[in-house]
């Protein structure tokens, strides 16, 4: 894992003290809220429905045990005993006191963490594949590039006041586990003629105008990625609309001027950038890459797993993924218990996962955009011990990528922007489909719920998506079918008129019934939908 150097630490420490002073000035009235708001947002501090909310960055979703433990300690000491893992691999605390915020940031800084650029019209936390470095099919570990981008984008003087927020994802596998093409810029590392570089996608995103990012360059060599992205951002920063926040994202610019014209302008700027020699030295990428060297895997380990315990075997089949090293496995930890809140974890659960990371996973864990956790390097011989500890902590749900593994934004229970509650609906759907046999029968089905059009719950990218809206003060839910955030990215289509909370649960049941009746061998829900189209589902729902 990357470790801060003296520059990183000095920057973060200085920022904490700066914010401490700003907070003090706000509390004593030297700063008005209008003056203070942009300052607190630059440090990830929002004012939400019930209290201040602090969003902590988890760069590319990678954490050490020590960092995870600190997150749990903060949840217990300063919040109400829990935290919420988000769809951008971050963590949010919902009940923060303004006066405590500088102390929390100081505690985060002791473990090389912060909340900088988790809000505002800047480049946000760089997201990546939760299987980075352990997936057998990746071209290279994408995290060194993600870290390089983190350093490049942190306090970038030219990109601190962009037209709108800017999200970047980096992957290196054909399997897209990071919704890469639904980001402002997506990078997919590829190898061409023995040279590693990246495919570059630009202009994707969700929100009120969802778009799948088009490919704008099919290869940029690794040593020119930074200057190419600089060119992408420069064109956006110059021509992105600042007159209308709803049309200010890069996707609107790319759409309005056209992909070819955007590419032409980027190439023109890139040619200029090349003359400036702004790419970081190759040695810097090598320095960063050294932090992500594979851990000292033991050799000669058995790949056998004792499956005599049926519940353990069920969990292994669902939650454990193949690791590139013989004798090791990737463990997915579900934060989606049937009666729980998607993405929430108690301080004790966070501490337990920190312990597991240290004891069983080379002191490393990951956060996924689907609001789950991952232990990336677990010996197969240790799986049973890990599972037992997860069971005891209520973290052993076996539902990865099934209908109850629901992505849900905080919704109207917490969020000041929301129009409807996402979490109670997620709980009702999970309860309806709770039976393990039923979930297994349905198979992979990614269900995603947003409580407003901003789409933090990725409803556009759900095989089944749900959008909560406000109908004259009453919650109403639109149903979408056919979206995907994976390598087969697509946007869901609205079925028709919306439903009440109970009505949408019934509608989902009808949708899954049609799928089960119509599917052909080996088809996932999404495959069947794409083959037979919307009509049969619509007839079943609205018949």
């Amino acid at each position: 894992m990357y470790r801060y150097d003296s520059y990183d630490q000095a920057i973060v420490d200085a920022r904490v003290e700066e914010f401490r002073d700003q907070t003090q000035r706000r509390l004593t009235g030297a700063l008005t809220e209008d003056q203070f708001k942009p300052l607190r947002l630059m440090n990830g501090l929002y004012l939400q429905l019930h209290a201040y909310m602090l969003r902590v960055a988890i760069p590319y979703g990678t954490l050490s045990g020590k960092q995870m433990r600190k997150l749990g300690e903060i949840a217990g000491k300063y919040d109400k005993g829990y935290g919420h893992f988000t769809t951008r691999q971050n963590l949010q605390y919902n009940w923060i006191k303004l006066a405590d915020a500088p102390d929390i940031l100081a505690e985060l800084a002791t473990v090389e963490m912060h909340a900088i650029q988790t809000s505002g019209n800047c480049i946000r936390n760089i997201s990546s594949d939760q299987y980075a470095g352990v997936s057998a099919d990746e071209v290279a570990d994408p995290r060194p590039w993600a870290e390089l981008l983190r350093q490049w984008s942190s306090f970038h003087p030219e990109f601190t006041y962009l037209p709108r927020k800017f999200k970047i994802a980096v992957i290196a596998s054909d399997d897209d586990r990071a919704a890469m093409r639904l980001h402002d810029i997506g990078l997919k590392l590829v190898e061409r003629d023995g040279v590693v570089g990246a495919e570059v996608y630009a202009g994707g995103g969700m929100g009120r105008t969802p778009m799948v990012a088009p490919l704008i360059r099919d290869f940029i060599a690794e040593d020119e990625i930074i200057s190419y992205l600089e060119a992408c951002l420069r064109v956006y920063n110059r021509y992105g609309r600042r007159d209308n926040k709803y049309k200010a994202r890069i996707k609107i610019l790319v759409h309005e001027i056209g992909v070819e014209e955007y590419k032409r302008q980027v190439e023109e700027e890139f040619a200029h950038m090349r003359e400036l020699g702004l790419n970081p030295p190759v040695e810097e990428l090598a320095r960063i890459r050294a932090f992500f060297a594979a851990p000292a895997y033991e050799s000669g380990l058995s790949d056998d797993i004792d499956r005599s315990n049926p519940a353990f075997a069920l969990w292994v089949d669902r939650q454990v993924a193949a690791h590139k090293a013989p004798g090791y496995a990737i463990v997915n930890i579900s934060l989606k218990p049937i009666d729980g809140i998607p993405g929430d974890a108690s301080a004790e659960q966070i501490g337990l996962v920190a312990d597991l990371a240290e004891a069983y996973s080379f002191d490393e864990l990951r956060v996924t955009h689907a609001q789950n956790l991952v232990l990336p390097h677990v010996k197969k011989a240790d799986l049973y011990a890990v599972w037992q500890k997860l069971v005891a902590a209520g973290l052993a749900e076996a539902n990865l990528d099934l209908i109850t593994d629901i992505i849900a934004c905080p919704g109207l229970d917490y969020c000041a922007l929301a129009n409807a509650r996402s979490i109670p609906l997620a709980q009702k759907i999970a309860a309806r489909f709770a039976a393990a046999e039923r979930q297994a029968e349905i198979g992979e089905l990614k269900l995603k719920i947003s409580g407003c059009i901003n789409a933090c719950g990725h409803h556009h990218a759900g095989h089944i998506g749900i959008l909560g809206v406000d109908r004259r003060g009453v919650e109403n839910f639109q149903l979408l079918l056919g979206g995907s955030g994976a390598e087969d990215a697509s946007l869901g289509q609205i079925t028709g008129p919306g439903f009440s909370e109970d009505g949408v649960v019934d509608a989902i049941e009808k949708v899954t019934d049609i799928y089960l009746a119509e599917r052909e061998s080996g088809e996932r829900f999404l495959d069947t939908y794409r083959r037979i189209g919307m009509k049969p589902f619509k007839e079943a729902i609205y018949g």
Binding site: E33, L47, H50, A51, L98, D413, P424, D470
Partner: protein, 98 residues
């Protein structure tokens, strides 16, 4: 009736103007009539509240109830965490939220 709400500057807690100060219980909320915006400005200047705004509410047999679901959830707390609501000892308190 019109009532005034916002968040306590220091703690962020949801608060309601009770006529002579702020309360954490929506049941204490007072009708501010046409004076809500002036009150909000004065209280924000006095550093007692942030993000203050006037909302519609009704006064019935059960007390003061915000008109919009968003404000009822602000008054009650997250509907999915009954252990964290403002008055967790009153088992039925959440029934009026939705």
């Amino acid at each position: 009736m019109k009532i005034l709400t916002g968040n306590d500057l220091a703690s962020g807690d949801v608060i309601w103007w009770a006529g002579d100060g702020w309360s954490r219980q929506v049941g204490d909320a007072a009708d501010v009539g046409a004076h809500g915006d002036d009150l909000a400005r004065a209280e924000e200047a006095a550093l007692r509240v942030v993000g203050a705004y006037v909302i519609d509410a009704t006064l019935g047999e059960d007390g003061v109830r915000p008109a919009h679901i968003k404000d009822r959830i602000r008054a009650f707390g997250p509907t999915v965490r009954p252990d964290l609501v403002e008055q967790p000892t009153e088992a039925d308190i959440g029934k009026w939220v939705i």
